[in-house]
């Protein structure tokens, strides 16, 4: 072999050898089809508001993760709700609690000015790789508004599995023997053909930074979440680009718990 003349050919030969015989696994196509289906469903929801999608689905997995997730049984989670079935005054909460099947902690107005705007009960389901329903559960979403500021949502559900905390909290407070956890996450939604900048590449290694593909344009928003578990019910107080500190959100959580 003439090394002088063939050294560049050797690169091609070696690269070919490196991946020779590699074939995709049998189930890859199923996974692709599943993800396409999930993305299409999510895309439909995103047309309404991708923030709501994050609140309804992603936020539920942001701080805690169920045993079925850890065991790898659930490969997709979807949720749906229709605000036409909800209520727009606090007096309608009793009816919503009946739909949910249990009573929840909530307030009509916070001392910082956020007021009840609407509430709805929805359903969430998890499916395994064979698309079988592994679980389904009801949840309640309550929205609070303060003038022209971003809304705050209270997301309530009874976990159907044992939950284990997978993300470390940025701040904690103990209230009446119950731990409250605060965390934030920056979401950068970008078009499919978006090329990452050097800053993106640094950021996406951070635990609290997420780049999501599929939006029409680049949009950056920061979520803030306080969550806690009380009487077997999981509460998440969450919002995007809020003018609220962690302490102010803890205060709101305490008001919901009725201890402030």
């Amino acid at each position: 072999m003439d090394r002088k003349e063939n050294w560049e050919d050797k690169i091609k030969d070696v690269l070919t050898l490196e991946c020779d015989g590699l074939t995709v696994s049998q189930d890859l196509k199923d996974r692709i089809d599943e993800k396409i289906l999930t993305s299409q469903e999510a895309g439909n929801m995103r047309h309404l508001s991708w923030k709501k999608l994050v609140i309804g689905v992603v936020a539920g997995c942001l701080l805690v993760s169920g045993g079925v997730f850890a065991a790898g049984h659930v490969v997709s989670v979807s949720s749906h709700s229709d605000w036409r079935d909800g209520c727009k005054s606090y007096s309608g909460m009793e009816q919503q609690e009946k739909k949910l099947g249990y009573e929840v902690d909530s307030v009509e107005q916070f001392t910082n000015g956020y007021r009840f705007k609407k509430a709805v009960v929805g359903e969430k389901e998890g499916r395994d790789q064979e698309k079988n329903q592994v679980y389904s559960a009801k949840f309640m979403s309550i929205e609070y508004a303060r003038e022209a500021e971003p809304t705050v949502s209270l997301y309530i559900e009874k976990p159907v599995v044992d939950f284990a905390r997978t993300k470390s909290a940025e701040a904690e407070r103990i209230c009446g023997g119950i731990n409250l956890y605060y965390a934030s996450m920056t979401y950068k939604c970008v078009p499919a053909d978006y090329e990452l900048t050097a800053e993106d590449e640094v950021n996406q290694d951070k635990d609290n930074y997420c780049i999501s593909y599929g939006s029409d344009q680049v949009e950056i928003q920061k979520s803030s979440v306080v969550d806690w578990m009380k009487n077997g019910i999981h509460y998440e107080l969450i919002g995007f680009d809020l003018n609220l500190t962690a302490d102010e959100m803890f205060d709101m959580a305490e008001e919901i718990m009725g201890t402030k």
Partner: protein, 186 residues
């Protein structure tokens, strides 16, 4: 049915056409992703994400005949994201095993060539990912400079620069490992 027709039908929502395009390109995509990321499991993730994006965004493809280059563009960018997150080192025995196939030569020559192959493979894997992608597209896929520029969404000069730098590093690695004097235009 031509690839252009399949692409057109996929853009109209025909899932079966997408399935055929997947069958045609799945292994090529996997191998390219593997060479860029250096990891088998990551490369499957890259292929998965690539084909999901292909299906969901196929209507954004303006030139139906440019499907492969468009798909490669998505694949390389997806590979950048996945591959950057992990170490690209392959166990030596895996490299040796791969280098041991398809060479009908004497044992001594085989040992020498295995070592050289390991050196070349190691040198390619040691390249920064953007240079490695250019090397993979140029040497493995056989794309021209202008085609690579289209796939990577950069200027031809950038591709030439990355390729030039990569060649220098590969040559340096080969020369230092084996005392090989390589020649040719850089």
């Amino acid at each position: 049915m031509t690839e252009e027709m399949l692409v057109r039908q996929m853009k109209e929502g025909d899932k079966a056409s997408f399935d055929l395009l997947y069958e045609k390109y799945k292994n090529m995509a996997l191998r390219t992703a593997y060479l860029i990321t250096g990891d088998r499991s990551y490369s499957e993730d890259v292929v998965q994400d690539t084909f999901v994006k292909v299906y969901l965004h196929c209507k954004e493809l303006k030139n139906d005949s440019g499907f492969k280059a468009w798909m490669m563009q998505i694949l390389v960018r997806t590979a950048y994201r996945c591959g950057r997150k992990k170490s690209r080192e392959l166990p030596d025995d895996e490299v040796a095993q791969k280098a041991d196939t398809g060479w009908n030569i004497s044992l001594l020559e085989q040992v020498i060539m295995q070592e050289e192959a390991q050196a070349v493979a190691g040198a390619v894997r040691a390249l920064p990912m953007k240079q490695r992608a250019v090397v993979v597209l140029f040497y493995y896929q056989g794309y021209q400079i202008n085609e690579i520029a289209g796939i990577l969404g950069c200027l031809e000069g950038t591709v030439k620069s990355r390729l030039h730098t990569a060649r220098k590093q590969l040559r340096r690695a080969l020369e230092s490992d084996f005392g090989v004097t390589v020649s040719g235009a850089l």
